[in-house]
């Protein structure tokens, strides 16, 4: 059993990283007194390795790498129930969000979620709008599951719910530049 955590003082790097994540999330983990209300209301906690309260605890203890590797941050559905209910005003959902981005930067990532996000943003960057059919196809192909949800594709078409071609907006170049400038300005800061 490896339940106990051997604590050593957080390193400067860990402190810096935590401060960065907290700043981006606009919240402080030290406010948390571990009541567990976030976990109690979390609709996805059943599937998490570390439920929300424990993720916060890892951060409080300076164990940010372990938190960034937790599957939990990719299981979080961003429904914001935790943040809405926290009696200490910790914005847990925003922290999860900031940690996902941090993990993404470090390449620690749930591949399927990342593939979906990439496909989604690729669409917007090139057309200005999301193209649902193209998005699902691209996602299925890049994740090696070409027949996923196939039984839903045809009924979607017969109901007139799938466009054959992506909609392109006039300001495509403008949108492309937004992507480029956001990346250059280091949006994750």
């Amino acid at each position: 059993m490896d339940l106990a955590i051997k604590l050593s003082p957080a390193t400067e790097d860990q402190k810096k990283l935590l401060a960065k994540v907290e700043k981006e999330a606009g919240t402080s983990v030290n406010l948390c007194y571990q009541c567990g209300k976030c976990t109690a209301g979390c609709p996805a906690a059943f599937a998490m390795d570390y439920p929300p309260r424990q993720v916060i605890r890892l951060l409080q203890l300076g164990l940010i790498e372990r938190a960034l590797q937790a599957e939990s941050i990719w299981i979080c559905a961003s429904c914001e129930t935790c943040s809405a209910r926290c009696p200490r005003g910790v914005d847990i959902a925003s922290l999860m969000d900031a940690m996902r981005r941090q993990a993404l930067q470090q390449g620690k990532v749930d591949k399927k979620v990342a593939a979906f996000n990439k496909a989604f943003l690729f669409n917007i960057k090139n057309f200005g709008r999301a193209f649902e059919a193209g998005l699902l196809l691209q996602y299925n192909l890049t994740t090696g599951q070409p027949f996923k949800d196939m039984e839903l594709g045809l009924p979607m078409m017969t109901r007139g719910k799938v466009g054959i071609l992506p909609e392109r907006i006039k300001g495509r170049d403008e949108v492309k530049k937004i992507f480029e400038r956001a990346e250059k300005l280091g949006g994750a800061e």
Partner: protein
Amino acid sequence: MKFAYYPGCSADGSGIEYGMSMERTAKILGFELQELEDWNCCGATSGHNTDKLLSLALPARNLAIAEKTGMSMMTPCAACYSRHRHAEHAIQHDPEMKKKIEQVLDMELQGTSETVSILDILAHKIGADEIAAKVKNPLTTMKAACYYGCLLVRPVEHTGFDDAEDPQTMDVVMKALGADAIDWSHKTECCGAAMVTSRPDVGNPMLYRVLKDAKESGAECIVTACPLCMLNLDMRQAGIEKKFKEKFNMPIYYVTELLAIACGDEQKTVGIEKHFVEAGKYLQTVKVRAAEAKVAAEKAAAEAAAKAKEKAEAVARAKAAGKTADKPKEEAAAEPDQKKIEAFKTALTKNPDKMVAKLVDDPARAEILATTLDEKRIAKLAQLMAADMEKAKKAADAFVTAELKKQGDCQD
């Protein structure tokens, strides 16, 4: 009333019925929707999962266009609504971030935009009374679970038009349409729409629980104001039924579809036939039940009116008769009481403990009376109870006192 309209990427794709019924809703209620010029996708969950600045800048481009129109911007999709409110909040409250967003957009922002949800417009800007006034075919007897999901009501500091735990705006609208808005516990639970594609092992149980709670709470349909919730609850319901071996047959509707239909639209006009879970038959059932309820209500009203008339006539007759003789007046008044007296007699005989408790507060004294009731006392009490409860209580009390005295005498 006029709004800039941000339909979002699903309004002519997976959420086509939402787009159709939104246009009808605007027309019926008399507000105007002017599509935002050359709008772009808000980036949704993928945006804020990837890059914060990008996730704020994408909706901010739309807000910049919207603020130039001088109108509030309405978006039907809960995710679009949430992302635009997030960006608005950052622009208005975080000067440092505002500057960064302006750099990324390469334009200046006034920070005057206001993104509103359709529920906010329906419940607050138009109001239940005005909606009810437009209803032609009320959805009487419809048992609807109003489903708000996550992004319309949370986070409160970004949304704030309704209660985050027990929101009411959709309930108010559904009641104005004549439906029953049932109470249930998953009103604001997340349906897992963001998870079902990439992590079905997480998303499916979330979806299952929402459907199950609605059904167990007595809902016959679920109403939503979010195209992602719709897609999830409707398109994936058959898969969930198979996976969890449980039938739901739960039709899902957009609140705008039901509004248009209650105000006289045909099902086809708002795209009911495009749903995955058959949704037309339930609307027919509601129509039939509503018609029956209407007939029953009319019949009851007519009967009540006839009764009132009869009574008034009897009183008038009694009054007229009372001038000549007192006797018929008494008869007229005593007549309906006979039934009551009989009912009290039966109750006192069959259920003495319960009935006596109504007359005597003290349990010990009540017991004495209950065990000593005879035909004579029952007749007397029943008569008094039918006429005047206070008198009956006094009589009951007297019986107990007499009984106690009798017992005391014996002991002496």
